[in-house]
Amino acid sequence: MTETEFLNWVRGPGMQIALAVFIVGMVYRVLENYLIGRKQSLAEPRGSEWTHGVGTMWRRSFTRAKLTTRGYVTLVAGYIFHIAFLVTLFFLAQHVEMFRSLLGFGWPALPPLLITITAVLGIAALLALLAHRLTDPVKRMLSDYQDYLTWFLTFFPLITGFLLINRVGIPYKTLLATHILSFELLLIAIPFTKLSHIITTFISRWYNGAIAGVKGVQS
């Protein structure tokens, strides 16, 4: 396969395969969880499950003072990584064009310099998290292959994208194709690994908030 064929494949059939697997996988995962069901509660509701559910989805995006007393690296690097990754993914002009080709609409992009900074922050945060995972005895013991696999699958698009924007030696065509492929691998892996938290996190938060809401307690 030549460089051109590689690029054409990842832009066409490769993206189709990745999207198909991603959508099938995520719909399947969400529906399977939903259909587990709950027994009908016969108690009189003491509050709204919707307001508490949605409120919890939002509130748990923020940390609390008590949580900062431990896991400081995870907390700080975790926040930096998530914000940096999302900004990089959704606000680089080239990425907006990709989303436009997938969704049919786009949105304003941020300046490339800012995206370069977020990409560097994202890469640095991921490296810090990996170092912490390898050096902290408890975290290391708790880690399995999936933690390292998902780390790599998240790191790969960031580093190839950074090299692409900053033109570090490797031919643009190969690097662009590799970068798109890295995103496709990430898409494929999401439904079948703990990366599915991109959606299930919000379902869990809603559920926790909703059951507390029905019982009339703080979630």
Binding site: T2, T4, E5, L7, N8, R11, G12, P13, M15, Q16, L19, A20, F22, I23, V24, G25, M26, V27, Y28, R29, V30, L31, E32, Y34, L35, I36, G37, A93, Q94, H95, E97, M98, R100, S101, L102, G104, A109, L110, P111, P112, Y172, K173, L176, I180
Partner: protein
């Protein structure tokens, strides 16, 4: 008749001054990224070079490559140098026709066996030999026959170099490149649709100067001309780096000369010298005239997802696919959910409650 005069002698007989000739040598050396100290060597080698016999074969092509070469700089030194090559066979340019033309080719091949250059433009159809013939000879037969005694082959244009437009999907004629057929001769790919004239003359000048093919990239193209991308040398590159893009061909950004990435420019993945040498005596090149690069010097440029689609955009239709995938996921999720529920119901049905009697018995 075989002309044994050197290129230098022919140039002076045509009124080209030594000064003009050296300027050409300096330009050629510069284009080939050679240091200034090489200019005298180029000049000496070129002026002492014997006119090599060149046989130009035109197969499945549009004559654009020849148009590019003949019209671009006329009458300039490049053109005259080209005159100074003994062009013994060329459909469009030669006077002879019919059997006389074929005789010229055969005569040139016999007289210069092992030392002539073959220039090919156009792809070669393998689907049916009858798709393209010259004097009743199929393209593939003529290429093999002519290449046998050649010193080297220059595949001019993307069709000859990579198959080009005839090779594009669905490739009805089974078109292939020269390098797909000829395996035992040095081949220089001068791709482009059409190629830049100075790149063609530069390659020939290099061959005359050094007597060997220039350094080539992995696609067989001279690195002196195809070593950098259009994007690397584009004067609009600062706008790309600042994230300033034209959204349409006539918006404010387009008028300000901003980057054409969003309008489908393939400059970042296209290796060619357009941004450096430009076209029409250095007047302009596509991006300078407000249109993105097509990527015409790259293989499969016609099938690379559309000229106006940004490089980062997907080229496949994903709307229907997304709908089908969502339905498939829903069906799979519902089926598994149902199985889980019936499994739980069976487990509950099998469950026997422990009574006080059971405990006492045990």
């Amino acid at each position: 008749m075989k002309d044994t005069r050197t290129v230098g002698e022919i140039l002076s007989s045509q009124g080209i001054s030594r000064r003009g000739f050296l300027k050409f040598c300096a330009a050629t050396a510069s284009m080939m990224a050679m240091p200034p100290s090489m200019v005298p060597a180029v000049a000496q080698a070129l002026s002492n070079a014997r006119r090599p016999s060149v046989i130009w074969l035109s197969f499945q092509e549009c004559t654009g490559c020849t148009e590019s070469l003949t019209r671009s700089h006329s009458p300039t030194l490049e053109g005259l140098l080209f005159d100074s090559i003994s062009l013994d066979y060329h459909h469009t340019l030669q006077v002879a026709a019919g059997s006389a033309a074929e005789e010229a080719r055969e005569h040139a091949m016999q007289e210069n066996d092992g030392s002539y250059l073959v220039v090919v433009d156009g792809s070669i159809p393998l689907g049916n030999p009858g798709y393209s013939t010259i004097a009743g000879i199929s393209n593939v037969d003529m290429l093999k026959e002519t290449a046998a005694g050649a010193a080297a082959i220059v595949a001019v244009g993307t069709c000859a170099a990579f198959g080009g437009i005839p090779h594009a999907n669905p490739n009805p004629t089974g078109a292939v490149a020269v390098s797909d057929i000829i395996k035992d001769k040095p081949i220089i790919n001068v791709s482009g649709c059409p190629p830049i004239p100075i790149v063609i003359t530069g390659v020939l000048a290099h061959y005359l100067t050094f007597g060997k093919v220039p350094e080539l990239d992995d696609l067989g193209r001279p690195t002196a001309f195809f070593g950098q991308t259009i994007h690397d040398r584009c004067y609009r590159r600062p706008f790309y780096d600042k994230g300033l893009f034209a959204e349409t061909f006539d918006d404010e950004g387009a008028q300000q000369g901003w980057c054409l990435y969003k309008l489908g420019c393939k400059g970042p993945v296209t290796y060619n010298a357009c941004a450096v040498s430009k076209w029409n005596s250095g007047t302009s090149f596509p991006i300078q005239s407000g249109h993105g690069c097509f990527g015409c010097s790259e293989p499969d440029f016609w099938d690379s997802g559309g000229f106006y689609r940004p490089l980062s955009a997907t080229t496949a239709d994903v709307g229907t696919l997304a709908g089908v995938a969502a339905l498939a996921g829903a069906a799979a999720g519902a089926a598994i959910g149902r199985m889980n529920r019936s499994h739980r119901a069976r487990a509950q049905a099998r469950h026997e409650k422990l009574t006080i009697d059971d405990i006492e018995e045990s």
